[in-house]
Chain length 333, copies 2
């Protein structure tokens, strides 16, 4: 029996467990650990794990793969706690929203020879916690895979296999590039949403405005309800990326305002261009650009060499089932 241990059973950790369980991997058991017993019990009840552990050392001792899914600011502590117990050759991955800082912590704190491969599933909800978790959370989404300098090719393939198994498309990307790009499409929207609520709710007329606010306000401001730990993690580990994008945004918004006042026709052209760009994005045009070819994703033979692994085989067996799942209904976007 092989073991995948998930540390932190919130929205992402819980959903990964549920998706892995739904994949019915052969001879693989999912071990879950969390510092809240309420969460652990809920994870068990929701079928996100096979076994729960209170002791983090016990939880990782026999694991071939360890997924760190706590808030990012707890990673340092988790890496320190698991280091003495990791099996030789074990693959460690994470689901954090930023990567430069995480890679540094992994290099500093995990034992030499640990196969660390960063991961970032591009999926989420503004409601945190195991109760919001869902096996389908990753269906049709992009899953960033960021190997450390010392990770073996088979370790990379195992994390890539994890992404595929939960219904996502693995996407290999440079660490610095990752943080800059997610700064624009994930962290900037969060700050914009919070600023929208801040600007409107500070108005003396907010009580009346709140009565009028409808679905447009609700969706544009949705990310303002994001989990506090997530916001804290992002703002302290991707400050530079965030500032870069706030600056880019300020430039655009100032220009929109200038156009609105001085040349309304130009304002309308800008808005129309944005509409076209979003519609093209919504159409899935960019997803259809096809999988990357520079990093092979199908070298199961390598995964087999690595830890003689039944886990690799289980992931491979899962391929057909996944294709069926992927034909199923997908969420918009």
């Amino acid at each position: 029996m092989d073991r995948i241990t998930i540390i932190g059973l919130g929205l992402i950790g819980g959903s990964l467990g549920m998706a892995l369980k739904a994949a019915k991997l052969k001879n693989v058991e999912i071990v879950g650990v969390d510092n809240s017993w309420d969460t652990v019990n809920a994870a068990k009840r929701r079928g996100a794990v096979d076994i729960v552990e209170r002791d983090i050392g016990k939880a990782v001792r026999d694991a071939q793969m360890v997924v760190v899914a706590t808030p990012i600011l707890a990673f340092r502590q988790v890496f320190e706690a698991i280091s003495p117990y990791l099996t030789e050759g074990a693959v460690v991955t994470d689901v954090g929203s930023t990567k430069s800082q995480v890679m540094q912590w992994a290099q500093e704190l995990l034992p030499a020879g640990t196969n660390f491969v960063g991961g970032h599933p591009m999926a989420g909800k503004e409601t945190a916690g195991i109760e919001s978790a869902a096996a389908t959370l990753f269906q049709g989404t992009t899953y960033c895979v960021l190997p450390s300098a010392t990770a073996t090719k088979s370790a990379v393939e195992l994390v890539s296999g994890l992404a595929t198994t939960v219904g996502a498309e693995p996407y290999f990307i440079d660490i610095e590039e990752h943080d800059m790009l997610v700064g624009g499409i994930s962290h900037l929207p969060l700050v914009l949403a919070a600023a929208l609520v801040s600007a409107t709710s500070a108005s003396p007329s907010w009580d009346e405005m709140a009565k009028l606010a409808s679905s447009g306000f609700r969706d544009t401001s949705r990310l303002a309800s994001s989990d506090f730990e997530l916001v804290k993690g992002i703002s302290s580990t991707n400050q530079a990326g965030l500032v870069h994008w706030i600056d880019a945004y300020l430039t655009v918004l100032l220009d929109f305002k200038k156009a609105l006042v001085e040349d309304p026709e130009r304002f309308l052209v800008s808005v129309e261009k944005a509409r076209e760009a979003r519609d093209r994005w919504l159409s899935g045009a960019y997803k259809r650009l096809g999988p990357q070819t520079e990093i092979p994703t199908a070298g199961e033979q390598m995964a087999e060499l690595f830890m003689g692994s039944r886990l690799a085989n289980a992931m491979k067996d899962q391929g057909e089932r996944l294709k069926e799942l992927e034909k199923g209904p997908r969420k918009e976007g």
Copy 2:
């Protein structure tokens, strides 16, 4: 048989027709007119109207209530076209997103004695057109009612009754105040969404970013896909309101950036405050502030005096059905 004529059978006009038909008003027929035959046919097929008319004069000639639901920039032309044909005492209302300009046009162009009462249902979708229309679009939403200086009390109550009949809560509000408030919770979000898409899609890395963008980006940018006519109407009839709110927003965003760089703790406090404000809004706390009392909404006797009206009775009969409908499932927020 009384007549309610809807001019313009797009998302809002079509949904109003469907909601009125769902209310099964006694002895009331819904007449629809639109300058596109495709739209007219679709409205008929979708059950949004009883009778379709190509000729706008014929359509309004025997109507007790006329609802103008074309793009706002066509209002001037519509008011001119219907003026010679309006029945004396007919109530004219609209569904435009801004009101100062509309009230001026109504005063200039509609015959003296016309009961103009502005309306603005706070409901919508980013997808325009009759195909997106739904009888439930207005359920649980706020419907702004803005009487002109010359509208009779019974005319105000009839438009208020229209709002109630389609499942919304009528809300009386000053014209200038309306335009300023919707500038913040409706028009500003639209501009912010367009600016987000503009800022990100202008990046040389957009092709990669688009692959990573997920539900957070989708929702924050949703309003960037708004109907072009809507954007055009808003930006040309509420420029001052929009500029005011863009300025307020720029101030907040600049402050967020400053805090992020100089005092991250303060940044987090601001974001947390925004989350609390949004959660309070989502909880429905502001809707529960209760109905306004300064303008009576239950004076059916007045509506009856006005045009001896079966239409008023039909609206009144509808009260019980509505209460049942309102107990049904509501959309979030």
